[in-house]
Amino acid sequence: MAAPLYVTQSGRLWHAGLILIVTVGLPARGKTHISRALERYLRWLGVKTRVYSLGDYRRKVLGGAKNVPSDYFQTKSPRSEATNALRRRIKTEIEDQIWDFFTVQGGQVVIYDANNGNVKARKECVEKFESKGVHVIFLESLCDQEAIITANIRSVKLSSPDYAGWDADRAVADYWCRIRDQEGVYDTVTADEGPFIKVMNVGERIEVNQIEGYLQTRCCFFLMNIHTRPRTIYFARSGQSLIEHSYKADSDLSPAGWEYAERLKAAVVARRKAAREERKARGEMLAEENPLLIWTSARRRAYHTAWPFVHSGFKVVQKPIMSEINPGVWDGLSTQEAMEIYPDEWERFLADPYAHRAPRAESYHDLSVRLEPVIFELERCQDDLLIIGHASVIRCLLAYLVGLPPNEVPAVEIARGDLVEVTPASYGVVSRAFHFWSGEGRGDSSGQNLYENFAEATSGKGSVLPDSGVNFAADAMNMEREAQEEEGRDKQAKKEMVKRAMSLRGMGSEEGRRSAPQLDRLNDGREGEVGVGGEQAQEGQGDRDRGTSSGEEVLSDLEGKEQGEMRDERAMSIIQI
């Protein structure tokens, strides 16, 4: 449904026309935040969009606050002729730039980020652009809570070049002066002025007037879903599965995959603890910890990777629309084979790795379209979120969050065993990666990341610029030890719990056979081979209480079992598939 259904020569959605979104609002009302979020979303939709900020342009022309004429923001008494001329010049220049973006650069949507608080000036702007065939809508940002405004001034405006070197309180006071000054002459947008969207207190209330058209409605829905509460989004790939290269087989996790699943849970827990410590060290006020919600696809390798979370009582939601990119006729093929069997397709694919759709397959473009509802839910979600998914899906979601251009999406390296942490900030996101696992299925002998199938793999799919900040695999910080320790602690705690539960029941020691002999024998001579054999070294550990987190549950599990058998249940090893 999303916009990038088709790509035209100009890069425009031909049915949507040119759109100018004019922000309206007093200073520090979150206009820039909303503009940037909207820009990110529209760009992700494949619409050529740019924010033109009057403030940024003024700063570029004039420099910091010291160079701004003292009457520049003055409203009560008339400004000097020179200042007025200067204001006019800056305004005309930026409007020329906007026009240039529409006509020369092939842009489709411009977000004109300025106060635009004067009804007459707005009318001029509408007339100027509508006469040239541009559809103008107003996006008014209102705020009736002083606390939000002050918080906004402190978090955003003080770091602006206008206040470089100022004392914080003095800067806040100065900024409030500027706001008060403007309030007197501010005209709110009314229904006669044309289509508008009014956003009150960053999304608390939305008023929409005469909004028609595909992109416009989408913008409204988007604005309805954004919020500014702090939260963190984590991404991790699913564990290794038995038949990695087949999409259709939808196979179970391999033993290494199960091991990975356990470690992932430990890593997430450890990372969340560490992140909290970091924030404490920075002197932030820490409220209650955000709950963690987990989303996986409905593919078994992903849902099974979340299994340890399911059993620790986390809420795990399966989303069928988060399945990996469909490889179509390429299912089961290696790069080499794809090149040999479908040489034409391969060439077309190389020419445009983002948009090319092999027969029966999905392009990254198709995948992005499919994932759009997930983006909205992701924006709306206020809890911390862990997305356990497939490389292709994570790439698309990260591309949205980080703001990657489409052609770089297919090449983003996401290693199995890395946890990507994304924290939304005022003008974008902060992303970091943590390495927590280097077992089987992470990479091949040459150190290349392993992917589920050819459609997921990065080989031959363009490249990501080294300094783009999204080379997660290369930049990952090592937290393997912490994750291992966490896993160990977790196991120890569960062991204690089982012991307690059993002694309460008079069931004797939990010691049993540590491993099944037949498995040991099988293991002989199979070391180092890919496959099930490698798992047995680990047996006897993860199984014993895999997934039980509460004493009651252990007890209920023990009920109705005979002692000897129970011992078997508890102590015997597994290859949990």
Partner: protein, 618 residues
């Protein structure tokens, strides 16, 4: 001693997907199987087989690769794919058997569910947390019931449990009951709605309270969204609702105000009310009824207070879509509701649905694939433009197809703007793609899927539910558009059709969408009106009716009764007493002789005319 199955009731809440493991049609059989140690030899064999599988990169690829050097090989790119790990190869079975042996040997206290074979039934996601009271606000004749019904249809299609609690219906059915008991006809003329008459006020108040209580009871028991369809026109009334809902934990309250200042829309609504057989106006002339209804509106207008209360969640809609205000829309479902309402419009339009022309796979009896049209399919593609033109005249139309060849080819002759949607691609049959139903039957008996077809997900493919989720954005876009012709596939059109005609999920996978038939759906005030145009170009019948022990219906025949039933169910008429609103699985179908329609149809078909397959029930 008995082994507790891994999916004991205590786990139910946590992991809905494992609840099903004991259902007879589930293929997750090894979970409920007794765990017994597996012979070492068997296990070793299983492991070595798995290893072999993992080393064998591409079954079938070597065959294809040998031919790939010739340029002809690339032509096969658009043809059916070589099934790799498809259900027709031995590999899938080998994989499953090996996996199963290893799982059986596992002594884990809780095993994640696994699937073997070609698919399994997937539980509906847990929606029990969503509990919303939607209280309508608005004067009479402002389209409140219209919005309520649209919302109900949309949310029910997404499998939420939704009911409309209409205070007017409650009042009328009570009056009818009283009358039947011989207590005389209640006076529900405008006098009853006077806000200065203390007795009427109390009576109306009591009705509203009763309706709200019923709604809350139902929400607590099973519902997700309860829509209270009443005027709720004063601060006082709304505050009472807020107060009552706040007493229940876990219930959210959303007001939905329908505001209308377009005299034309109001006049149309009034006229509809007066002429549509409202029992309130039984025995009155149309003019009298209209006058009385206008008087009733005036009674409400006198006390009407639009929503200005701070801090409440509401959505106000001016003239259906012209202007929308949203306040404190919290939660995912509420935002979905608001977005849906934002996309509605009242412009008259029709939606045309057609399957692609007969494809080569249809002829061969195979499912899935990306085959070309058969000669008869091309005939349909050639005949379609005339049929559409005849119907639509000069009004603009947009054609949507899937990305598969058969729909693109079918639409290729149409002189309209076209768009291809990946989301309109046919249900992905996963490992069964490219097989005939007979071949599938050899892997797993058909009753397994038929037992719960909506929830059955093909391995490596999709279920009908997955398709509904994928089509939701398409529906949203459809609501915004005007005349649209969708050239789609059987499963896709079933889902879309079920949305417009509000058919339940159990029936959805069995809706008849024959080949070479154009279905015209026109949204009306209280539902959708449907017409079918069958082109006399022969095609195979791909419909597989739900197996029935008692009668085996010939699926190839024209089943006019069924079609009429659909029309009735579409709710194209308003239901004044709420007789069919609650748990109406089996609506009463009037005994209309279907033979006349049938004869007329046959005649028309014989004459080679394009004839509507189903006439509207008058």
């Amino acid at each position: 001693m008995s082994m507790p199955p891994p999916s004991g009731p205590s786990k139910k809440a946590r992991s809905p997907s494992i609840v099903r493991t004991q259902a007879p049609n589930s293929l997750m059989s090894d979970l409920s199987e007794l765990r017994k140690p597996v012979e070492p030899g068997v296990l070793a064999d299983a492991i070595s087989k798995l290893d072999t599988l993992r080393m064998t990169k591409t079954p079938g690829a070597s065959v294809a690769a040998s031919a790939a050097t010739s340029p002809a090989a690339s032509a096969s790119a658009s043809g059916p794919a070589v099934p790799r790990l498809g259900s027709s190869t031995e590999m899938l079975r080998t994989l499953d058997e090996s996996t199963k042996v290893i799982r059986q040997n596992s002594k884990a206290p809780n095993r994640a569910p696994s699937v073997s074979g070609i698919g399994a039934v997937v539980e509906k996601p847990d929606y029990s947390e969503a509990k919303i009271v939607v209280a309508m606000v608005g004067l009479p004749a402002r389209g409140k019931s219209y919005l309520s019904n649209r919302l109900m249809r949309y949310l029910r299609w997404l499998e939420y449990n939704v009911e409309v609690f209409n205070v007017g219906q409650l009042r009328r059915s009570k009056a009818r009951a009283a009358q039947q008991e011989g207590k005389g006809k209640a006076d529900h003329s405008a006098q009853f709605f006077s806000h200065s008459d203390q007795k009427s006020n109390l009576a109306r108040e009591k009705l509203a309270e009763e309706s709200l209580e019923a709604l809350i009871d139902w929400l607590k028991k099973e519902g997700n969204v309860g829509i209270m369809d009443a005027t709720n026109s004063t601060f006082d009334r709304r505050e009472k609702i807020r107060h009552r809902v706040a007493q229940e934990s876990g219930l959210q309250l959303l007001y939905l105000e329908s505001f209308c200042n377009d005299p034309a829309v109001i006049a149309a609504n009034v006229a509809l009310k007066a002429s549509s057989g409202d029992p309130d106006y039984a025995g009155m002339s149309r003019e009298e009824a209209e006058a009385d209804f206008r008087k009733r509106i005036a009674q409400y207008e006198a006390v009407y207070q639009t929503i200005t209360e701070p801090g409440i969640s509401f959505c106000r809609i001016l003239n259906v879509g012209q202007q929308v205000t949203m306040n404190r829309i919290e939660g995912y479902l509420q935002s979905r509701i608001a977005f849906y309402l934002m996309n509605l419009h009242l412009k008259p339009r029709s939606i045309y649905l057609s399957r692609h022309g007969e494809s080569m796979y249809n002829v061969e009896g195979k499912i899935g694939g990306d085959s070309d049209l058969s000669p008869r399919g091309w005939e349909y593609a050639k005949a379609l433009p005339e049929l559409v033109k005849k119907n639509i005249g000069d009004t603009p139309l947009e054609v949507w197809t899937s990305t598969l060849q058969r729909t693109i080819q079918t639409g290729s002759m149409l002189p309209f703007e076209k768009k291809t949607w990946k989301s309109l691609d046919e249900l992905d049959a996963g490992v069964c793609d490219g097989m005939t139903y007979e071949e599938i039957e050899a892997s797993a008996p058909a009753w397994i899927r038929d037992d719960d077809k909506f929830n059955y997900r093909y391995r490596g493919g999709e279920s009908y539910r997955d398709v509904v989720v994928r089509l939701e954005p398409v529906i949203m876009e459809l609501e915004r558009q005007e005349n649209i012709l969708i050239i789609g596939h059987q499963a896709i059109l079933r889902c879309l059709y079920a949305y417009f005609l509000s058919l339940p999920q159990e029936e959805l996978p069995y809706i008849k969408i024959p080949l070479h038939t154009l279905i015209k759906i026109t949204p009306m005030a209280y539902g959708c009106h449907e017409e079918r145009y069958h082109l006399p170009i022969a095609a195979v019948d791909t419909h597989r009716p739900k197996p029935n022990k008692h009668s085996k219906t010939g699926s190839g025949q024209l089943d006019t009764n069924a079609a009429e039933e659909v029309l009735n169910r579409s709710g194209a008429k308003r239901d004044y007493f709420g007789d069919t609103a609650h748990h109406s699985d089996k609506p009463k179908v009037p005994e209309t002789p279907g033979t006349q329609v049938q004869q007329a149809l046959e005649k028309a078909v014989d004459a080679g005319d394009v004839a509507p397959k189903v006439a509207q029930v008058p």
